[in-house]
Structures are given as structure tokens and as C-alpha cells.
């Protein structure tokens, strides 16, 4: 890192749900750093605490212990308003269930974070159109979410997450509700964002097939980091294809 600051810096993160005998420890002291421009996947079986980790990083929930810092700022020092501001301006969310507002058109959905941030409507619409172009959805800007396929809805959600040009894109099982062709498309989009735009991405998935797209994989098990693996830069695809064909 040039300035020594991580985009995400998680230390000793612990989260306990409930209290007393029924208490569930979702996270038990997780350390994690994500540098700017990294594409990191968090893997683990269900119940390993990976989604909890994502929501804590995204300031949607507060940890029981430990700290989350985004771009060097400790979230525990922020009040709810500043956390909202952080989510609004610096973080983009992509959910498994898309979470679009079904009465708003594609363009309105995408412009929503800007509107919430007080950007003038005209500029918000312009930037939303730009963002829709980035995910290849320009032709669908006046459609309602209900008129779009699952894959298209998720692309819409990604466009919405990107419209504020966030520091960090958080994706929670983005392909969880999609068929494999749409999933491929979404993953290609994420790879392209990471490679071409240097977008920092933290993605949670239980599926190795999608985690493998990232540059680094964190494996969670029982609320702890079980393994961490940085993946080497991939070779250009014709080389890989040739190698596979030679083995036929």
C-alpha cells in the first residue's frame, strides 16, 4: 500500500447474537485487511459467519467486540448518521435477493443512493444512466424490476451499488438466486470491474466456483479465519485453453 491505509481493516471482530444460553457466536475474533483495488472472496459453509462479517464491514450491524475501519476510520467512533453517510458515499451493496424497490424503474432504482445523498435529480439521472451503461442495461432503464430477469435485476443492483463510485463494493452471495448463465455474467462483470476499473470488491460466497474469480480467498470456519490464500495472476486465456486442448 502506498499510504499504508487499508480500505478495509478488521481486527479481533467478534459478534454474538442473543444472550445467555441461547447466545450464538457468529464471529470469534476475525482479522482481515483488504487493500485498495483488491478483489477478495470470503468463503465458508453456511453458519460460518461470513455474511455477518460482510454486514459488520458494511456498517449494517455493530460488532460485539473488535473494530472495523474503512479507509482508516474506525466505525465504532461513528454515530448512526455518519454511518449512514458512509454507506451512502463510500460503500456499495449487492445482495443475494437483489433488494430493488419494485415500484421504481431501473433508472430510478440506480439513482436512489444519489438522491438520498442530495444530488440534484437531473445529475442523479445522468449518472444512473452512465452506471446502467457500465453493466450493459441501458436499454432497460425504464423497466420495472418485475419486468426483468433475475440476472438483469442483479446487474441493476450492481449498477446501483456503483453509481456513487464507492470505495468498496460489498457483495453477499450475488449469484445465490441466479441460474448458472446469469451467474457467469455477473461474475464476469465483477472481474471486469476489478481488473479494468480497479474496484475494491469484498464478496461472500459459499461456492468455490465463484470465489475462484477473486484475487484472494479467505476461508471462514466456525467464526474464525481458517485459511487465507492469495491467488497468482492468471495467465492469458488462450494459453490456458491450449494447454487444456493438448490434454484431450
Amino acid at each position: 500500500m502506498s499510504d499504508g491505509t487499508h480500505t478495509v481493516d478488521v481486527r479481533g471482530l467478534t459478534k454474538v447474537f442473543g444472550a445467555g444460553e441461547g447466545a450464538v457466536e457468529a464471529l470469534r475474533g476475525v482479522d482481515l485487511q483488504v487493500a485498495r483495488g483488491e478483489f477478495v472472496a470470503v468463503m465458508g459453509p453456511s453458519g460460518s459467519g461470513k455474511s455477518t462479517l460482510l454486514y459488520l464491514i458494511g456498517a449494517l450491524d455493530a460488532p460485539t467486540a473488535g473494530t472495523v475501519s474503512i479507509d482508516g476510520v474506525d466505525l465504532s467512533r461513528m454515530d448512526d448518521n455518519r454511518l449512514a453517510l458512509l454507506r451512502r458515499q463510500r460503500i456499495g451493496f449487492v445482495f443475494q435477493a437483489f433488494n430493488l424497490l419494485d415500484v421504481l424503474t431501473a433508472e430510478e432504482n440506480v439513482s436512489l443512493p444519489l438522491v438520498i445523498d442530495g444530488v440534484p435529480e437531473a445529475e442523479a439521472a445522468r449518472r444512473a444512466a452512465e452506471s446502467l451503461g457500465l453493466v450493459g442495461m441501458s436499454g432497460r432503464r425504464h423497466h420495472l424490476p418485475g419486468q426483468l430477469s433475475g440476472g438483469e435485476q442483479q446487474r441493476l443492483a450492481i449498477a446501483r451499488a456503483l453509481v456513487t463510485r464507492p470505495l468498496l463494493l460489498l457483495a453477499d452471495e450475488p449469484t445465490g438466486n441466479l441460474d448458472s448463465a446469469s451467474s457467469d455474467q455477473i461474475m464476469r462483470l465483477l472481474c471486469r470491474l476489478a481488473e479494468e476499473h480497479g474496484q475494491t470488491i469484498l464478496m461472500v460466497t459459499h461456492d468455490a466456483r465463484w470465489a475462484a474469480a477473486a484475487n484472494r480467498v479467505i476461508r471462514l470456519r466456525d467464526g474464525r479465519v481458517a485459511d487465507e490464500q492469495t491467488l497468482p495472476p492468471a495467465r492469458a486465456y488462450p494459453q490456458v485453453v491450449r494447454e487444456l486442448e493438448s490434454q484431450l
Binding site: 464476469r188 471486469r192 485453453v241 487444456l244 486442448e245 484431450l248
Partner: protein, 192 residues
Amino acid sequence: MRSAVARRIAERSTKLSFKHALLGLLAEGPLHGYELKTAYETELVPAGNLNFGQVYTTLERLNRDGLVSFEKVNQAERPDKKVYKLTSHGRRELKDWLTRPSTIDLDQRNSTFLKLMLARRLGGVDLMGVLAAERRACFERLHEVTRAKAQAQQAGAPVQSVLLLDLAVLTLEAFLKWLDRCEAALKQETDK
């Protein structure tokens, strides 16, 4: 350098029937030996790297079995060349082969299995460490083919390349899942 895993993938695939590949190429029209080699390399298996010997010995065997016939064509300043074409017997054989299901060849030989089983028996070896190393290696490979596939799709690569990459992705994914099973089962065993 080819990793053990990559080799394993090649080994695991159902054996290529070179004989039927040639029959298939001839089904579209008569070809001579060199043309056959080029067609094989461009249309079927781009990285095939055939040698002429292999082509000619196979063609002779096919001729002997009455599946192909040939006629000699005179060429100026060069040796005569044989132009091969499919006999009706050969056409029938090709059709039979295409419609007959291949015997799925489950080639289970792989060193990971062996390593795990040995590590399990031997004391003083970190079984989980072996497993983790195998997984990392597999994941690295999966990362490569996944990215390659994304690039290939993005660049509009031919469908046979993409499908081949898909086969690799899914095979690796299956292997990773199998490793998870191994981990769970072996952990349970050591915990006892």
C-alpha cells in the same frame, strides 16, 4: 510444466477415439492425409499436434477394415498422394459410433487420494496440512481457469474453447467439494 492435477484431468477424460475422428472428418468429403491433419488441428482439437505417422497408420488400418478407400492422384514434381474417402461400411460405422453412448471412463488414479491415504496411515505427518496444500493447489488452478473462462467469454472465443474451460471449472469444483468431504470425514476420524 504440467501439474499433477492437469494431467489427471487429461487422464480422466474419456479416451479420444482418433479412428472415429478421422472417419468424421472424411464424412464431409474426400481428403488426403495432410488435409486430414490440418482439419483435425483447426476444427476438432486445436492444440492436437498430430504427427503424420499416426495419421497414416490409422488410415491404413481403416482401409484394411474396409471403412475407407483411396485413390492415387498423380502430382507433377512430387510423389503421388492418396485421397481417402469413406466407404458405405465406414459411414455406417461412424453413425453407429456417434449414436452409441461412450463408456464413461472413471479414471480414479490420482496422487491426491494416495497422498491422503498414506498420510492417514503414517504418523508424524500433518494430514490436514497435506489436505490444505492440495486444496490450495486445486483452488489456484480453478482461479486460473475461471479467469480464463471469463476472459474467453468476454473476448468472444469459440464455443469449443469455452466449453472445454467449463469442463475444467466443473471438474475442479467437484474435486474441491470432494476435498471438503475428505476433510470432514478425516477430521471426524482423528477426533475419535
